[in-house]
């Protein structure tokens, strides 16, 4: 292994760790900061906030994104909100409670110290965003408004209509834009990272492709930050933007960074069901809909009556039946799995497909159409735009879809991977959400990492010195560049007959079947074989077309799909070795008699971090044991 896998969690009581660590970390002399170059890949909440904050501190930053503008990163699509332990509602919230909820919600597979710090920093994030002009919802008195979200029993979620991610991202983007204008950040839009350069065991730069001209160039730095998001698009159909991909983190893994818990993938319960063979992505409907909507299926299998014609007595409000105390507000993993069970048993309300009803008729009777419109108007409009059905008149039909990935590159308490100099933030790392992420926590983590953690911890790394000056004329850069060129030419040279998208669809389908919402030993072993066969076919039969020296969207996708094909194998392997069910990872062999996830803390209370060991040998698993000193291990129960 390059470097070492030491969590570097500071000593002392959990509530003092971060404060103490901030004091103990080395500082970079202000006059020296401008001598350090930092590369930030990705411009979502984590990347944009980190790039802006590092530039404000005086570092020279280069920031890369594949979109045409940093403002378009996929954080922009987050709807619901951002959690913070402000306790503005006086309903008993606290840093401790947010910490507790997050560890428990993650089904005890996250690192306690990181989660506590996240909860602690959450309150600063809101201050920062308000100062930037993020137009959060307000009460009539002018104070910030909150709502309860994703089954939390306190109201700690801050929101900006149904567009919280957009507004937070625009805040970070504007801070970044200011630094670009001041010349502190060099921005490279429409530029995709295709490889990482490691020199003397340290991350020293990247190789990128200009997506307009096709030029492949190298960039050197003292440290590299990956903020490149998650890998839900391994399933082809997901709620992620079409461009989201695993390439940056996977390329880093192939250069020696450990990939942690790749099988922890979150399936969001409330998405619009797929409608046909040409479906290109799935659309999320905010989880907040479950606050007022009731989920049901007919009691009779294959009931073809219209929903309004099915009497209440013949409907199965299965979440309310199975979980009387949480009802429709059970966590995402539970709600998703139950929907799948009902459909697998033949109760689907989408003919020949998969879907359950999310019914607002009771809420409309209680609050009136205008009351519902005020809360969910934009979501109802979106639903009607896509399906052509009016959810004020007929129940919505929903089905779970891949949405977020808790797994990612392994990082220590400083958000640095085992590869010195390679820092990983936001969804791209594995650290804070364990085996399941709670609603409104992704935005919190991205901004905590980017605004308030990385800017300190990267200084500690840089201040330790020992970094030889390197530039892109170094042989390591020349070599990686040549490898990237070779790979691009190889993709173009296959010249087969099947499109990249056709392969991606096939990969997605097989991953959904074998490594999706519910997994078995048999299925995963089959999955591994199928992925290998598909990958072999890909490299023989894919047709990319066009040239390398041009804007070539088929080539962009080909590189990403090729990486997904390698990565998918690691996902199956990770799911196979984790012989327990926890959070979003459900192995059918390991469940309680009433069908809940059954953890095996004695054997699996660890982070599985995988080391790439070449194309011809199996990856090696390293384990970081997880200890729970403050939140005691318990079976989650939402009954």
């Amino acid at each position: 292994m390059i470097g070492e896998m030491r969590p570097r969690v500071p000593e002392g009581p959990i509530q003092d760790k971060w404060e103490r660590h901030r004091f103990e970390m080395k500082l970079v002399n202000p006059a020296n900061k401008r001598r350090f170059e930092v590369i930030v890949v990705g411009s979502g909440l984590a990347g944009a906030s980190a790039a802006a904050s590092l530039a404000e501190l005086g570092y020279h930053v280069s920031c890369f994104c594949f979109q045409d503008s940093p403002r378009r990163a996929h954080s922009i699509a987050a709807q619901g909100g951002i959690n913070a332990a402000k306790n503005y509602q006086n309903d008993g919230d606290s840093v401790w409670r947010l910490f507790y909820d997050t560890v428990k919600g993650g089904d005890f597979r996250s690192r306690e110290a990181n989660v506590y710090r996240l909860a602690e920093i959450s309150v600063q994030i809101i201050d920062q965003c308000v100062a930037q002009g993020v137009p959060f919802a307000r009460e009539y008195g002018g104070l910030l408004a909150n709502r309860s979200f994703g089954g939390a029993q306190v109201s700690r979620t801050f929101y900006a209509r149904g567009q919280t991610g957009q507004q937070l991202l625009l805040g970070a983007y504007q801070a970044l834009a200011r630094q670009i204008g001041l010349g502190q950040v060099q921005m490279y839009p429409r530029t995709e990272m295709l490889d990482l350069v490691v020199i003397d065991g340290r991350a020293r730069g990247i190789v990128v492709r200009d997506l307009v001209t096709g030029a492949i160039t190298a960039h050197a730095a003292h440290a590299v930050v990956l903020a490149t998001g998650g890998y839900s698009n391994v399933f082809f159909l997901s709620t992620n933007a079409k461009g989201c991909n695993v390439t940056a983190t996977w390329r880093a893994a192939k250069r020696g960074a450990l990939f942690a818990n790749p099988c922890f993938t979150q399936i969001h319960p409330t998405c619009i069901p797929a409608h046909g063979a040409h479906q290109s992505k799935l659309t999320l409907m905010s989880e907040s809909l479950r606050n007022d909507g009731r989920i049901w299926v007919p009691k009779k299998q294959g009931d073809s009556r219209r929903p309004g014609d099915i009497p209440v007595g013949e409907r199965d409000y299965y979440l309310e039946r199975l979980y009387p105390s949480f009802g429709n507000l059970v966590p995402r993993d539970v709600a998703s799995r139950r929907a799948k069970d009902m459909c697998d048993d033949g109760y689907s309300v989408v003919p020949g497909g998969h879907g359950v009803y999310l019914d607002f008729s009771d809420a409309i009777a209680r609050l009136g159409t205008s009351g519902i419109a005020e809360r969910y108007g934009n979501l109802f409009e979106m639903y009607e735009r896509i399906t052509g059905e009016n959810p004020y008149d007929v129940p919505m039909r929903i089905y779970p879809a891949p949405h977020y990935t808790m797994g990612g590159l392994w990082v220590d308490y400083n958000l640095m991977s085992n590869l010195p100099g390679l820092h990983v933030i936001g969804e791209a790392n594995f650290s804070d959400h364990g085996a399941n992420r709670l609603g409104a926590s992704a935005l919190m983590q991205g901004l905590a990492d980017g605004y308030f953690i990385l800017p300190y911890t990267i200084g500690d790394y840089l201040a330790q010195g020992k970094l030889e000056p390197v530039d892109v004329s170094h042989t390591a850069f020349r070599q990686v560049e040549a490898e990237v060129r070779e790979r691009t030419s190889r993709l173009l040279a296959v010249n087969g007959s099947q499109s990249v998208d056709a392969f991606h669809r096939e990969l997605g389908h097989l991953m959904w079947e074998q490594c999706g919402m519910s997994r078995t030993k048999q299925g995963l072993e089959n999955g591994l074989q199928q992925v290998r066969r598909l990958r072999e076919r890909f490299w023989k039969e894919v047709f990319v077309g066009g040239k390398g020296e041009d804007l070539n969207q088929s080539l962009e996708r080909a590189g990403r799909v090729a990486d997904f094909m390698e990565f998918a194998e690691l996902m199956c392997l990770d799911a196979l070795q984790r012989e327990e069910s926890c959070g979003a990872h459900f192995r059918e062999e390991y469940q309680t008699p009433d069908g809940e996830a059954k953890r095996d803390d004695a054997r699996f209370s660890y982070v599985a971090a995988w080391e790439w060991s070449g194309a011809d040998s199996a990856p090696v698993a390293h384990h970081e044991p997880l200890g729970f000193e403050y939140v005691h291990l318990a079976q989650r129960s939402y009954k």
Binding site: G133, P135, S280, G545, L551
Partner: protein, 258 residues
């Protein structure tokens, strides 16, 4: 259903472009407009022709990546809907669709339907922000913001930066885009200290980028997928006017014509 597509094909910024006719048959009315382009591209790939380049990403109407002119209307015929959220059920069997990129001097064509919108980024870099260094923020509830101001700020902040307003404007003006940002930040107490400098810098940057002037056609609002109101342009004009009355900083005062 069957649709006849006339798609603008242009190999590069300096190449000349032309409409190419494609017929698609057996498409489902439940498909989105971009899925129609996907299907067409799959067909082109199958016969080893170069697929049509177009920008898209979230396909949920929020990232602002997509945007083409369909039958003369940016994002197509449906009110308050981006091209990615437009579904084919809004067309009739046998319809002809003329599909072209945004056309504006400040948005040069990169390839086919892809244009370069970096001018928008430059306008924001010039002043479309509130200066608030990380770590320097006061407690969030220390500053009260009346709900109506927060709501108004949010109405303006909903802009997704897609550029449909520019494509719709006979002058290819970016005034609605600039007005939305100026009004968002100017509606909030946090935005006051830089308010007049901001408006001057942004309007100057807009002029430098080669966008046209606003002559109050209102086409921008009609095309805007987020229904940003032209009222914000009135707000912008008021702020520009007031900026001429406040003392200039660093010799920078607004001198151009809005």
């Amino acid at each position: 259903m069957r649709l006849i597509l006339h798609v603008w094909r242009q190999a590069g910024p300096d190449a000349s472009g032309r409409f190419v006719k494609y017929e698609t048959d057996g498409v489902s009315p439940d498909m989105s407009f971009l899925e129609l382009l996907d299907v067409l591209n799959e067909r082109l790939i199958a016969i080893k022709e170069e697929p049509i380049a177009f920008d898209h990403d979230c396909r949920e109407g929020i990232c602002g990546s997509c945007g083409v002119v369909i039958n003369g209307r940016p994002h197509g015929p449906q009110r308050a809907t981006t091209a990615c959220q437009l579904h084919l059920r809004h067309f009739r069997d046998g319809d002809a669709l003329w599909i072209e990129p945004w056309r504006a001097r400040a948005f040069p064509v990169v390839k086919d339907l892809v244009v370069d919108r970096s001018a928008f980024d430059r306008i924001v870099q010039a002043g479309g922000f509130i200066t608030a260094r990380t770590g320097s923020a006061p407690e969030a509830n220390a500053m009260l913001v009346p709900k109506r101001d927060a709501d108004r700020a949010m109405d303006a902040a909903a802009c997704i930066g897609c550029g449909a307003c520019v494509a719709a404007c006979p002058n290819a003006s970016a005034t609605l885009f600039v007005a939305a940002k100026v009004s968002h930040l100017g509606a909030l107490p946090q935005g006051q200290p830089e308010r007049y400098e901001r408006v001057v810098r942004m309007v100057d940057a807009m002029d430098e980028a080669g966008f046209g002037a606003c002559t109050n056609h209102g086409e921008c609002m009609a095309a805007c997928p987020k229904e940003i109101s032209v009222d914000f342009i009135a707000q912008l004009n008021r702020d520009v006017l007031k900026a001429t009355l406040v003392p200039p900083r660093e010799g920078k005062a607004w001198t151009g014509a809005a």
